[in-house]
Amino acid sequence: MTKLMHRDPVEHDPDKEILRYRRGQRIVHAVMASSFLILLITGLALVWSPMAFIAAGGWSRYLHRIAAVGFMSVPFLYLLTDRAGAKEVLVDSFKYDKDDVAWFRYMYRYAIGRTADMPPQGRLNAGQKLHHSAVIVFSAVIVLSGLVLWWFKADLSVTTLSWTAIIHDLAMLALTLLLVGHVFFTYVYTAWSSMGTGYVSKEDMEMEHSKWVEEIEHDATDVQETEVVRTEDD
């Protein structure tokens, strides 16, 4: 199944484009994004009175729960479609090096669209690592508080219910702000294709993720050298 997910029928020039997200990762992203947007809209209907009409009659509650199941399935879906990718994201998102720390010092430059002279970055820049780790933590909080509101509401006092709802609302606020930031950087750095075709401009990557490009090219050279050695041996 993993091999099937990696197959891509469109030819991409390796000198101009780099595969950043494999098909499995893009599917997982699409499931996460669509379920999150449904959860946001159906949840907003319970917070913002002009949208309360969506919740009237109760159908949005069912939609919220269906989307919640989709959202909760994301880690399992990731493991199923791209185990290596899931492990890579998890490990990379919580591992910072000296360049990442330096990147945070100049983050304001990156936020205003200036990447020149930013410290060199790997596959994920320091901001993406922080974004990923925050998404993981707040998703865990929102899932746990949501499950309590879903399954154990009848056992809660009004005080406990209010506390649980506050935790749920604040976790959603954090995730929504992270989404705003995510869309912001995707727009500024024209990164839509990374979750569309999976390929991104090599030139952009050399500016923003130079360590990763070097790593890929180094790996490619190693493979070529190994092939040459094999041919000579034959």
Binding site: L46, S49, G58, S60, A111, A165, I166, M172
Partner: protein, 260 residues
């Protein structure tokens, strides 16, 4: 103007006429009723005392059901707690929060007495008040109802020394003023129902509006900054392209010069 019901438990004979009138007048479906008459007997034989708890919405002025309702289906009007059933999302928060255990879920939506809003708007008295044969029920402006409740308590004090008015202060004041012949606990009515918790108030009136405001500000800020930042990034890319082009041209002319 605030209105209220008067419910004189010293006069209630437990005939259930109010239950029937409410159910038929409001055309409530099978299994749904807004008034429950619960018989109470205390003491030991032969010294027994009987009474009824006319269990119905107390129309709290500081109503916790209204405080937690996320869609505004429950709201205060004329001092009473109304329910717009079509706006109910069926979350059940009102069921959890009511200190009197009044709202119930029927077919996925909350139900409770809404003070016969449409009947009163049509110039009639609420169905239960119209029907009560013992004059235990009355509906009027809240201050007039309170005055009458005190008069009635004064009138029965000789017979019921513990008689009292209930609902003047509880839960911020009630829209159902009771004349009780005895302490409220004797009829399983909480003497002092818990107020709406501060944390509920914080959730609805601080966390939610602040979250909405923060999200809106972030979206607007990101929109404005996004345009500036993208312009900067595009300029940066153009600079790089121009430098590369200049380098390539310089490279070409060097190569031409070298050629004989």
């Amino acid at each position: 103007m605030e209105y209220a019901f008067l419910l004189d438990m010293s006069r209630c004979i437990g005939c259930e006429a109010c239950v029937v009138a409410c159910k038929t007048g409001n055309e409530l479906p099978i299994g749904t009723q807004y008034i429950d008459l619960i018989e109470h007997t205390s003491g030991t034989y032969p010294d027994l005392q009987g009474g009824f708890q006319n269990h119905r919405c107390y129309h709290c002025i500081d109503a916790s059901c209204v405080a937690v309702c996320p869609t505004g289906a429950l709201f205060k009007e004329d001092g009473l707690t109304r329910l717009n059933s079509s706006a109910c999302s069926g979350c059940g928060y009102c069921v959890q929060s009511c200190p009197y255990g009044i709202p119930k879920m029927e077919n996925g939506r909350a139900t409770k007495c809404d003070g016969c809003a449409s009947t009163v708007a049509g110039g009639e008295l609420p169905w239960c008040v119209q029907t009560c044969p013992a004059q235990a029920l009355k509906y009027d402006q809240r201050d007039l109802i309170l005055a009458e409740a005190h008069e009635r308590v004064a009138a029965i004090k000789g017979r019921y020394p513990n008689a009292q008015v209930y609902g003047e202060t509880q839960a911020g004041g009630l829209g159902l003023i009771l004349v009780l012949p005895d302490d409220p606990e004797k009829l399983d009515i909480p003497a002092d129902p818990p107020p709406v918790p501060v944390v509920t108030d914080v959730w609805k009136n601080v966390v939610q509006p602040v979250s909405m405001g923060a999200t809106a500000l972030a979206a607007i800020g990101a929109g404005v900054l996004g345009i500036i930042a993208r312009r900067n990034h595009m300029a940066e890319l153009r600079d790089i392209e121009e430098k590369e082009l200049a380098g390539a041209i310089a490279g070409d002319s060097d190569a031409e010069e070298v050629q004989p």
